[in-house]
Symmetry: C2
Subunit: 363 residues, 2 copies
């Protein structure tokens, strides 16, 4: 199985995504200009024991290491400030490079630190989760959370390279793996019906983490994301399609205070809600919603919001989402499988009915 390369042609900085096995330990896959004496590997306490040595090995050792605690609640300004102070203590300047080794939390936080340290330094994404490999490490969205909302503080800052080493997926806990598959599915739903149906067909092999299938799934996901990001780096239009399932999903995450559910799980449920609302509006056939529900269910992903989340509370959380303009709740809905659309002029009743349908679907 060979190495795959996807190029991301953003206006601010073009860069490659490399996808394959054993990438982390080989120097040749990293940007040629990296000076090990001016690199810092940023990782967390869970990932570091598993993969950090491979990165050191690629460079013959000696890179600085900075470990943050593991968990979404550490994706904070405080953690970011601690990393920035570490860079200052080490007397690193504008020419240093951060290597973000981990999942979405490490990547988002490290990218944001790179965006604001001395007004911007370089960074490399070394994503070790499926979700990070197909989504968060690509496209330059960096962020930290605030108590009042997820990803409310951040910057657009592109990495200089992304190395998605699929060997790291072997140790990924099953729930995290499935949450990543939800984001893979998203690319099919929003823009590629063939890919969606391929995932449905290959679900058994994907669930078995077949390396060749995974590499194909990651490559296809990255190609979709790269195309959208290149056309709309700063989310002026089309890029908003990537938020399919996210407005519903963020409301679930906010309700749970970013605990218990994984991001991809919330997005999975959110995509189903978006599909159901699209059906209510008469855009999507009802049987497609049923098929999606079945697929999510067989992938072990949630198909209803957590117990205790009322329709009113969910609506309130959705109103706080940063994608809203002028107080309207913007949603990404489906015209059909493989075609999404950003809307804010839908019938409000359809949203309310959808929330009632789903939020009353459980105890």
């Amino acid at each position: 199985m060979s190495l795959t390369r996807v190029d991301v042609a953003t206006p601010s900085r073009p860069y490659p995504i490399l996808i394959g096995r054993g990438l982390l330990a080989e120097r040749a896959h990293y940007p040629a200009a990296l000076d090990p004496a001016r690199c810092v590997i940023v990782s967390n306490e869970t990932i570091a024991p598993l993969y950090l040595e491979r990165v050191q090995q690629a460079f013959g050792g000696g890179l600085r290491e900075y470990l943050m605690p593991d968990g979404e609640r550490y994706k904070s300004l405080d953690t970011c400030a601690a990393l920035l102070d570490y860079l200052l203590e080490q007397r690193l300047g504008r020419d240093c490079t951060l290597l973000a080794l981990g999942g979405g939390v490490v990547g988002d936080l490290t990218g944001f630190a790179a965006a604001i340290f001395q007004r911007g330094i370089r960074f490399v994404q070394l994503p070790t989760t499926l979700l990070a490999q197909v989504d968060s490490s690509v496209g330059g969205k960096t962020a930290v959370n605030r108590p009042l909302g997820k990803n409310m503080v951040g910057a657009f800052h592109q990495p200089i390279a992304v190395l998605a080493d699929t060997d790291t997926l072997g140790t990924l806990p099953q729930r995290e793996f499935l949450a990543g598959l939800a984001e893979v599915l998203k690319y099919g739903l929003l823009g590629d019906a063939d890919f969606y149906h391929w995932i449905r067909r290959e679900q058994a092999g994907l669930l078995a983490r077949d390396p060749a299938l995974l590499q194909q799934a990651i490559e296809q996901s990255c190609r979709h994301k790269a195309a959208i990001v290149a056309a709309d780096e700063r989310e002026a239009g089309q890029r908003a399609l990537l938020n399919l399932g996210h407005t519903f999903g963020h409301a679930i995450e906010a309700h749970l205070q970013y605990r218990d559910w994984l991001h991809g799980e919330a997005v999975a449920c959110g995509m189903l809600m978006a599909a159901a609302m699209s059906a209510r509006l008469g855009w999507l056939p009802g049987d497609e919603v049923a098929r999606l529900r079945e697929l999510l269910h067989s992938l072990g992903l949630p198909v209803a919001p957590p117990a205790g989340l009322t329709p009113a509370a969910m609506l309130e959380h959705m109103r706080g989402d940063k994608k809203n303009l002028g107080g309207q709740i913007r949603l990404v809905l489906l015209d059909k499988i493989g075609q999404a659309r950003v809307v804010s002029d839908y019938a409000a009743q359809a949203l309310e009915d959808t929330l009632h349908e789903f939020c009353h679907a459980q105890g």
Copy 2:
């Protein structure tokens, strides 16, 4: 006396600087698209009682107001986080605009908050100090301080407009006014000998805060800054010239932990040290250094670092400056009056001798 307009043609966003009397209270001078319901005036407890009402008046009242404490030590990530949380509490989205009313601290912090709130919102600079009007409000450098260094965390984020209302200079404490004059002088020294000599000739009128002379000085300063920023928005080259006096100056400020001396005072002393070092290297005639010292002295600006700052300590602080690449201390020195140059390959002895000359010049 008429309104002056200087256009800043940065690649990321072109915007106007308006300079004149009575600008703050007139709606016509603000960007036409501003929606008062989505604007927040950010100011501090000293400036707000003096000028905030004028901004409200321009819009017929009703704009949100956010006041931070006054002082450089509040130019922090903590203050920024509090402002960001306020915006979230107010449920403001990506379409809101911040109006930064105050000096450099308010402008830098508000601009940085605008850069990172929801990955970037618009802001307007309403500078009320001479220093902010001629320097910090123009060019899109935003930042906060960390304990280990000034402006170490920040972003390039251009305002959508700058309104420099010269009426606000009437209430400016004398020391702050003089510190601003130091930055005006900087533009002459680094790129415009005629302007430098004009300042020397007109110093009595400038010290008397003659409105027509001040407007000319601000306009000329902004033209210089705008030209440099347009050519080099992200400080890849030429923009570094604007740091004349700043590497020495930051070392003084760091030593004093950003207390006691104003930024412009530190820059004044730093410019003299840069001139003196340039003379040691044989680039600048010694009598020009003497004339500069005289001018600074007659403007009431410091011509020596604070007592207690040793050459070794100063060198150590200079090494931590973010303008250094690869461990070298980069300096802006003078080929002649009106012509600066960025250098890092000077004879180290010249720097050491300069530090010894100045740091031993006082008790």
